[in-house]
Symmetry: C2
Subunit: 211 residues, 2 copies
Amino acid sequence: MAKTEIARRGILLVLSSPSGAGKSTITRAMLAAEPALQFSVSVTTRKPRAGETDGQDYHFIDRARFDAMVRDGALLEHAAVFGNFYGTPRAPIEAALTDGHDVILDLDWQGTQQVKEAKPSDVVSVFILPPDRGVLERRLKTRAQDSDDVVRSRMRKSFDEASHWPEYDYIVVNDHLDGSIATVMSILAAERVKRGRLLNLADFVNRLRGG
Amino acid sequence: MAKTEIARRGILLVLSSPSGAGKSTITRAMLAAEPALQFSVSVTTRKPRAGETDGQDYHFIDRARFDAMVRDGALLEHAAVFGNFYGTPRAPIEAALTDGHDVILDLDWQGTQQVKEAKPSDVVSVFILPPDRGVLERRLKTRAQDSDDVVRSRMRKSFDEASHWPEYDYIVVNDHLDGSIATVMSILAAERVKRGRLLNLADFVNRLRGG
């Protein structure tokens, strides 16, 4: 007999953290471990860095195109960071969620707020915290790509960001990377079987009862 | 440096299912896999079956003692099943939750309702469903210990029970036992890092920010 599938909408899993707390590493590990999980590729007006691929790391677009997307409501959230513009295209996410596919998004607290407003019942938000201040400082200081000014600004932003934990559904203290990845995987697995997310349960149970 | 612990209240994990859907097997597997998880031993007025140990499978008590516990509010929930009385002692559960220990309870929908009324913010409720009607019928028919009447009555009760899925937080279709156990483990892991359950997060983040 064919297995009875219980349909559901996809989950929009949003990860945020103070810069340096491990959000990007955890996002990459989640994508590697869960092939069914889709990564939302952002648009940005900044120039590609060495090693970045258009359409994979970002969709690199010009300012006129970005403004048009904002105007058309084609972005689920958007923001200016250090003079560059970033945004999350709405259409691929809508399509994925409708098809029951889960999407992972890596956002700051402002982006999370915009996405929660746009899709309140689809978002599951996770805030990653560093285990202590020293870890955060060391991680931010060893990023070689940016100027001192950018590092200082990022550290200030990082501590500000940490104050936004009360706006998230789940809080993961990233003291051991493997444990943190497992915890975020568990959050996804649990949310997938939340009653409110399942679509045809009444029919399924009726069939069980012989109806 | 000592790891900063984030304190939390324990979780009261309630598992229900139509009889025969696998609730008891999953409960046993959870206890084996998670030594920190505590099993709530019920009181009952029924006689011990072969192989049952007092204080381990149940606390076997007489009717007078049971009535006194109900009168004193010493039971978190209680019920009559096939002429016998069953109940969940309140004190050990209160103590465990306060100390941040998680407790697993194996209850029917009526017991779940009583426990949710008594401890609304501590309960995480999981409903286990069989994958199809045939599995349920086969499992109930192969239980040799009970009379035909008890089996028929249990099957009726089982289908009734299935209709109570809308009262639960999570729904797990038990088509593969290992997968179902992993899903319930994920639910527990996820609920442990839910923001509302964590007690001293504001202090923790203040220390991060150097406060």
